[in-house]
Symmetry: C2
């Protein structure tokens, strides 16, 4: 049995998210279909993170087990030929059978883009906010999220977990031309967590929430049904990191 790791880019606009659903086109679904056609066997794919409908990825990671003897390069080229144009395999690697895209990930990094101008060309990739945002205040609020916290209040209500602790490893908010770029890396993310963080930060930036109220919100812990989630199209999963990824690799094709 071989274990293949894929690094994937996709445009989430026309997908009902990553995870296979009873109905609706999903990234996992089109990948498993194309892999099945290519390898002539039924394939189950494991993704590092389950992006929601409309959310994009530049560096999603997934793995699958296969009995196929196709060369890595044949898998890479074959998949890219079979996949629809809104999903692209950036890299295919053969890794240890122990590698698990979700459990072994030590860090995931997301980018959220906010545009201060109406835009046609970037409409599927930004949240447009025409009112002025106090980025300095938003940066202060964001910094308070660094380190380990219980993020239950930044999690979509329906999710039940043994614990809601996440460790934020990196956080930044940069102004780039007419956009604000919010980046966050953490060991794990709860459901809709980045979008709720961005939604609450924007409330701070608009002056509707004070810095103190933002910190209180973080400390509340329990689910906050009132929490405003930023719309999905501004969000992109940029990168997933693993320990010892070099040791796991047996070869790669890109």
């Amino acid at each position: 049995m071989r274990n293949i790791k894929l690094t994937l880019e996709y445009d989430g606009t026309d997908f009902y998210g990553w995870q296979v659903q009873p109905e609706g086109r999903t990234v996992q679904g089109v990948l498993e279909k194309s892999l099945g056609d290519l390898l002539q066997e039924s394939v189950r794919i494991i993704g590092a993170g389950r992006t929601d409908a409309g959310v994009h990825a530049k560096g999603q990671v997934a793995n699958f087990a296969t009995e196929s003897e196709l060369l890595l390069n044949e898998i890479y080229r074959g998949l890219n030929a079979l996949l629809p144009s809104d999903v692209v395999v950036r890299c295919a690697e053969e890794v240890s059978v122990k590698f698990h895209a979700r459990y072994d990930a030590t860090s995931r990094r997301y980018l959220y883009r906010i545009s201060s101008q109406p835009t046609a060309l970037r409409r599927n990739f930004v949240w447009t906010i025409l009112s002025a945002l106090d980025l300095g205040l938003m940066r202060k609020a964001a910094q308070a999220l660094m380190g380990t916290h219980d993020f239950a209040s930044f999690c979509l209500g329906s999710e039940e977990r043994p614990n809601y602790r996440c460790t934020v490893q990196q956080i930044s908010l940069k102004s780039i031309e007419d956009e604000a770029h919010f980046q966050i890396a953490a060991d794990r993310f709860l459901r809709a967590m980045v979008r709720i963080i961005v939604g609450q930060l924007v409330e701070v930036g608009r002056g509707r929430l004070t810095l103190g109220e933002f910190l209180e919100f973080l400390q509340k812990g329990g689910n906050q049904p009132s929490a405003m989630a930023a719309p999905p199209q501004g969000l992109c999963l940029m990168e997933v990191q693993y320990l010892h990824s070099a040791r796991l690799a047996k070869g790669e094709s890109r």
Copy 2:
């Protein structure tokens, strides 16, 4: 009678180009429809350039005459509310009745993006070329286009004009991450001219055409049915310039 100048951004992916056609959705068509609904009169729009199907614009300019007494800001906001999401008015200005978006333009600037990697997120905005390109050689060829030339050989066959002289004012080819950005500004452009220039430059970059052959092609003059045009989605009309635009402006809204 008032004369209104619009600066427009659009995603050309789902349009049959700028110009109204007997059938098919066009940018001019949706603009005239939204303007008609807003102003309650029949409006004819003049665009600075006729972009082809799939070609984008970040700074297309257009103007129209109207009897409407709506405030400039009402036109700007009303249009953006009525237009589909793939067309956005970036700026509305009231200008002299003499202003003509096409005839008065002194410079148009286009950007063409080439990606060296397969991409899902940028697939509607780049031409993907996986084989290596010699950008240095392409730059040399591009520089030969500076100044005034007869560009008949870089023009789509069907176009008949009194003359094919264009003055290239600015030309550059830059490497930005995994993309090559080709920019060209000229007083005017013939039909499909930028796409044929890029197509021929890529032939040079791939080593299929020597620098000498490229120069010969330019000097040939007549229509060259063999000329390879780059695909439309990599192209974007960035800016249109006018003389004395400040003098013409009576007010603006953005």
